[in-house]
Symmetry: C2
């Protein structure tokens, strides 16, 4: 198909497609003349993936590039998969003080990679944000998060397909990035539902 049809099929504007081509996020099409190229279903799928990652996934183009690289060139060892997925989506943050994070992980019995502190920066940054804003979570809320997030993660990890490395990587990387907005949207809707039950019933 030509670029105009590719644009229509993927719902991505032609100038944006050209930008992704220049940036190497989308493979070149097959040239049919000096100014025209043909694209195929793989291009449609790739554009939809990029759209999902930069839209609901909220990733920067640099992170999209890393996600695509992780999917195309998966690491050899299965237990490195999560590392690749996490590295692809982790921000470039300064290394922070992890004292509070480590105390929490010890309390919950989470022992994986306690020595590899770079992976704890996201949580350290999030907890520092609470502190900066003068917001203290009520007692037990962080423990409840850990308990229920673990239950969710257990379901997800059990469901990871292991028939081929490529399938596993694709699943882990996309699951990490694309289910985050689902979880956030559900939390907001659950708040709304429970808030309506609590506060409306108390209204005069």
């Amino acid at each position: 198909m030509r670029i105009s049809e590719l644009s229509r099929r993927s719902d991505v504007a032609v100038p944006t497609i050209k930008f992704y081509l220049r940036e190497g996020l989308l493979p070149d099409g097959v040239l049919t003349s000096a100014t025209q190229a043909q694209y195929d279903e793989a291009h449609v799928a790739r554009l939809r993936l990029i759209r999902a990652l930069v839209g609901p996934g909220g990733l920067s183009l640099a992170a999209v590039r890393q996600v695509i690289a992780a999917i195309e060139d998966p690491p050899a060892a299965t237990h490195d998969l999560l590392g690749a997925a996490l590295a692809a989506v982790a921000g470039q943050q300064p290394v922070r003080d992890h004292t509070q994070v480590h105390a929490l992980l010890e309390r919950w019995g989470w022992h994986a990679d306690l020595e590899d502190c770079t992976r704890h920066d996201d949580l350290a940054a999030a907890l520092a944000g609470l502190d900066d804003a003068g917001f203290e979570p009520p007692p037990g809320v962080l423990d409840a998060y850990a308990e229920h997030v673990t239950a969710i993660a257990r379901r997800e990890i059990e469901a990871v397909p292991t028939d081929s490395v490529a399938t596993t990587v694709r699943y882990v990387v996309l699951g990490t990035v694309l289910l985050e907005p689902v979880m956030l949207a559900l939390r907001r809707l659950a708040h709304q539902e429970l808030s309506a039950r609590r506060f409306r019933s108390a209204a005069p």
Copy 2:
């Protein structure tokens, strides 16, 4: 204190502070000469709040403005609080097809505001992202999300302080925005923990 000390105390650069002043996100200090102003602890607290919202909270300046407005000028009715919080952090997205969202909410017995579709756009967008990327969550994963996110939300809603409207609004708005990065960071760490247990034990 002068702007240089305000910068040191809040860990926000002087040019950034001047930008927030021009944008009205930070109230003016008290002028002590034509070119100097004095700032107080309220300015330090506001700057730390803005830093937390634009950093781990990941909000745009426009959303920060709405969060601050919601905290400073809370809605009169308690059951509107969540609405104000959600409106402050919701993106400006086009209205999507909510058929799938409504089917899920019915299945879970979440009935609040089924008629007010604007609040379902985030979930609809997140589910559309899965679809775009060709990623289908395994059976039961969305239900597990709903179950455990509800348990988390219940703990949070029970903990909302109701001693004054201002306290309630501050709590709900900041809790909505600032606990999201905590939950995401915990999910990634839980994945890492469980993945290590599953895949490392299976390694030769």
